[in-house]
Structure formats: C-alpha cells, structure tokens
C-alpha cells in the first residue's frame, strides 16, 4: 500500500475529519488529534492489511516561529514501517506548548521506551503512561529542554561556564602578569570581545 491508500483506509475507518493528510510530508502521512492517537496507532499496528510492526522513530519538533505557521505547538511524529507488507507511513500529532501531553506508545512498541525518553529529554513532551519517563541523554540535574526554540543557554550550565575569553585576551593577561610589553600583534583593537565573550563576525 502506498501512503494515499493508507490514508484512505484510515479515513474510511475513523472518518475524514479525524485523519487529515499531512501535506508537507514528502512520503505521505497523517495528522491526527491527541485524543485519537492511541486508537489510530493501535489500528495501524493490529490491522492485518496495515500491520505496522516497526516503530521506526519518535521525533519531537517545536513549531514556535516556523514560517507559515502561527502556532507555538510541539509536534510528535511517528514513523512506522511494516516488515510484512513493506510499506511505511508517518503520523503527526500536535500538542499545546504549556501542556504537551501525548499518550505513550510503549504498550504497542517496546522501541518507544527509549525514543520517547529522548523526546521528553530534549523537547519536554510528556508521554503519558510511559513506565519511566526520565532524562536519557542529558544529566538529571539539567534544567530545560534544549531543542525547544525558546530555550536559551545560561551563563552557567551545571556549574560550568558557557562563555570563554578570547585567546588574545588570555595571551595579553599572561603577558601583563609577567610584566613584559604587549607585542604589537596582541593589542586589544583586534576583534574586541563583545559582552557574550565571542568575537564579532569579520566582514
């Protein structure tokens, strides 16, 4: 089955208003509501014609500020594949930013356990019903979800400074400390550091 046939089959089963076509997916996909997700995913896995037995990926995205959209939703995309039928499909679900709760797929595919943890870690999407939704890649003490578009790196992350002096400043510092003259190449007028500590772009 190709993606259009899968969408037709889903629309036949759930109604055309509950399964929308993802126009922007190159290989076809559907957009569904959060409340329908668990039911539709179960159907995709258990139906004998669809038989999506491989959950390939769970990817989170932040839509805040994306051109052409005026939402600030988070989105979770599921890429599915069927080893028996050799076809693939993707399902997207949008959730509001302040309450990003999505039903967990861990009861359908065990591979979701780690992928949902990763998505929670980096984007803060909460997968309800997950057996242990903890941070995976980042340390447990880490604050915030760095793949969100409004996440800002602080001056310090877990006690480690995120900015550093320019090498020229460092050279000058050591040179001054030793009481010598600053060599002509090391004057401060070369790329004076900005407030963030990074040298400005050279035009």
């Amino acid at each position: 089955m190709d993606a259009n046939q899968i969408i037709e089959k889903l629309q036949e089963r759930f109604g055309a208003d509950r399964v929308q076509v993802d126009e922007q997916a190159r290989r076809g996909g559907a957009v569904v509501a959060v409340d329908d997700l668990a039911e539709i995913m179960r159907f995709l896995r258990d139906d004998t014609e669809l038989a999506m037995d491989f959950l390939n990926s769970v990817s989170g995205i932040d839509l805040l500020g994306l051109k052409g959209t005026d939402t600030d939703n988070l989105r979770s995309i599921y890429h599915l594949y069927s080893y028996g039928q050799r076809h693939e499909f993707s399902v997207s679900v949008d959730v509001p930013r302040d309450e990003p709760k999505v039903p967990s797929m861990t009861s359908l595919w065990a591979s979701a356990i780690w992928m949902e943890r990763e998505s929670y870690d980096l984007l803060g999407i909460i997968y309800e019903g997950h057996p242990g939704l903890t941070r995976l890649l980042l340390p447990t003490e880490f604050e915030g979800h760095p793949l969100r578009k409004d996440w800002k790196e602080g001056d310090f992350v877990m006690g480690i400074s995120t900015t550093r002096d320019t090498p020229i400043d460092l050279l000058k510092f050591f040179h001054d400390k030793m009481g010598g003259e600053v060599p002509p190449g090391l004057t401060t007028d070369i790329n004076p550091p900005t407030e963030t500590g990074n040298a400005p772009e050279v035009e």
Binding site: R26, T69, Y83, L122
Partner: protein, 388 residues
C-alpha cells in the same frame, strides 16, 4: 547515592558498591574497556547472576541535532561524520539523502555508484572493528589485531578517496566530493582478492574456535518478535531470523543494480539470535560487501560525480522528508524539516545503536556477569551513535 568532596559538597552521583541483602549494585563504566566508548551500566547482581542491568547513556552527547538547526544544509555535513565515527560514511549518506529528498534531486549514476562503493568499504571497516572488539571482549586479543590490520588497509583506500581516515565528509548533498583517484579501482580490486582470503582465515581463528563458540553460542538470544518490538535493526535484526535488508527490500542509491544475498541468523551453534549468530551474520555480510564492491567497480558508469545543484538550498518551511539507509549498525533514519531559510528547522537521526541499547535491560536479566560483556559486544554498539 551521592558522592561528597572533602568540604562536604555534593559533587555528583556515586560510582560505588552498594550491598543490600544478597543484591549488590555494581557500576560498570563509563571507562570500562568493553563498553565500546563512554557507556555506563548499573548492574544489580546476586553473586555472579545479573538481576538487572540499567544502561546510563549521554556521556558523548554533543547536541548534533541542535547543531543541525544552526548550520546551513551543506555546513552540517562534517558534523554528520561525528554521529558514528566508526562508520561515518553512512551518516553522511543518510543526511544527504534526506536533504535530496526534500529538494527532489536526481543524482548522476556515477555518484550513486561511488556512494555504494564508499558505503560498502566503510561497512567492511566497521564490521572488522566491531567483530574484533567482540572477540577481544571475550578474551581473544589476536583476532582484533588481525582485523585492525585489514581495517588499516581499507582506511588507506578511503583516505586516497577523500583525504580522511575516520571522519570522511565524502558524500555531499548532490553526490560525492571527489571522483576516484587514478588507478584506485584496479588496486581496490586487487585488495578485494586479498581480503576474500582473509575471511576464511578469520573463520579459522575465531568463528570456528571452540572457546569462542562456548562463550557466545546460546548467550543473549533475542527472538524475532522481541527484535521487531524493540526495533532492532540491521545485522542484529537479521541474526534473529528476520529476513529484511533495506538495500534489497526498500532499495535506495544504486543497490537495485547489484546482486547479493542477505545473511540471516540460523542458530548454527545454538539458538537463533544468540551472540554467535550476530557474529556470523556480520562475517557473512562482509563477504557480501566484497561481492557488491566488485560488481560496482566493474560496472562503474562514466559521468559526473556531482549533480547539478541549485544555487541555494532552501526547502520550503515545514516541508519534511526522511531517508532510511542500511548502515553498518543497521537502519539509520535521517529526518529533516525545512525552515524556508538556509538552515534546517529540525534534523533528527535515529540510529541502530540507540535501538540496540533499549533491549539490553530486557535480555540481560538473569544472565551471568561475564556473558553480559559478550552480549553488549555482540550488538556492535558504539557510544557516539547512541548519544549523538
């Protein structure tokens, strides 16, 4: 479970032994030699039997997906090398393919062939290291050296191709960076004749070795159902008896033009899907790689190695596409979403090692401590690919 420094300040989580009744909590890694990179496992053991093995990953997290949002499409290419530095060609290919799918680019056939050639060379190199490391983890150091010797030869060929031995940055959006050097094709064909004779030697040294068989057969068997549910991919999936290979069943690049077999685990020395099967499947895959390489080198078409590229790569906002390729560690999914500008809105890699890590906790329950080393090694896990 916290560790304090001499001033009584908390400096991190503990890495020490904790004894509760019969159960011992033991830390393995992050710098354990058999953990294939910087990986940590928290083991709960009863004597020598494991009750639980909890992987702790993220020590090599370099925020590659985040960097992908901040670079231009071409500018991100060198970073993809670092996704999996043992088999860098595949992440190159995966990302390039995803962007090409966004742009709907058609590649010259020669470029596709060069991609297949570099992929298969890299697959051989990666399997050699993975198999050698598995043999070494089990206690055989000699095969590792034999395999590294061969890997060095392959690296030299790749170095002639693109100037690098580890992080190749060879495959680009729209093709590959360089055409073949003069005389390279014939020399590689000669080398393949040599390498074909090395595999039986390795089989005599390791695969047929009774100690190796005792250590790996019937250890860590994964059923086909478990493998599919946990999303194992590539050689790990095939050794569990699932006959699936993206190169054959969902062809990409020039793979439909070659004939090759897909080795599947048969439980030769024990159960289907045990550590021994995973080892044998990889050995057989190298043989298939030789066959694909020979066909590709002999059939290599003339033409350009780069497609005609649009001046600026600017896919529409919100448009997203993904690619799936058969990497050395199994299927890799690369997913890219356009932002309408010169940077991607979101880049994602779902890698083979990441999925393989998820199954360790399930399978290792009740295993012997020494067997879990063989089990982890047989999954051919590489830490940077998990953490990205």
């Amino acid at each position: 479970m916290t560790l304090q420094n001499q001033h009584g300040e908390q400096i991190g989580s503990s890495f020490q032994l904790i004894e509760e009744g019969n159960e011992l909590t033991l830390n393995m890694g992050p710098h354990h030699p058999s953990t294939h990179g910087v990986l940590r496992f928290i083991l709960k053991t009863d004597g020598e039997v494991l009750r639980r093995c909890v992987p702790d990953v993220g020590f090599l997290h370099r925020a590659i997906e985040s960097i992908g949002e901040k670079c231009t499409y071409d500018g991100f290419m060198p970073y993809t090398d670092r996704v999996d530095y043992i088999a860098a060609m595949f992440a190159n290919h995966c990302y390039a393919l995803a962007v090409e799918e966004l742009l709907e680019l058609e590649l010259p056939r020669r470029a596709e062939y060069l991609r297949v050639i570099s992929d298969e060379l890299n697959r051989m190199a990666s399997h050699l290291l993975g198999l050698g490391a598995m043999a070494m983890d089990i206690g055989a150091v000699t095969p590792f050296l034999h395999m590294l010797r061969e890997r060095e030869h392959i690296n030299t060929y790749i170095e002639e191709l693109c100037g690098q031995r580890i992080t190749y940055n060879y495959q680009r959006i729209g093709g590959v960076s360089h055409d073949l050097p003069h005389g390279w094709r014939d020399r590689l064909l000669d080398y393949l004749d040599h390498f074909e004779k090395v595999i039986p030697e390795l089989n005599r040294l390791v695969t047929g070795n009774q100690i190796f068989i005792e250590r790996s057969a019937n250890v860590g068997a994964i059923s086909a159902q478990q493998a599919i549910s946990y999303g194992l991919v590539g050689p790990n999936l095939r050794s569990s008896g699932v006959d699936f290979d993206l190169r054959r069943d969902r062809p990409y690049s020039a793979y439909p033009e070659f004939e090759f077999e897909v080795p599947v685990g048969r439980g030769e020395m024990g159960t289907i899907g045990d550590c021994y099967d995973r080892f044998v499947v990889r050995i057989q895959e190298m043989q298939q790689s030789i066959s694909i390489l020979r066909q590709a080198l002999l059939k290599l078409p003339t033409g350009n190695h780069m497609a005609k590229m649009p001046k600026k790569i600017k896919p529409d906002a919100g448009l997203h596409a993904y690619s799936r390729i058969e990497s050395a560690r199994g299927e890799m999914l690369g997913w890219v979403m356009g932002s309408g500008g010169k940077n991607a809105w979101r880049v994602r890699f779902r890698t083979g090692s990441f999925n393989a890590m998820g199954i360790i906790e399930e399978i290792s329950r009740g295993m012997m401590l020494a067997d879990v080393i063989a089990f982890i090694a047989s999954l051919d896990i590489i830490a940077p690919e998990i953490d990205r």
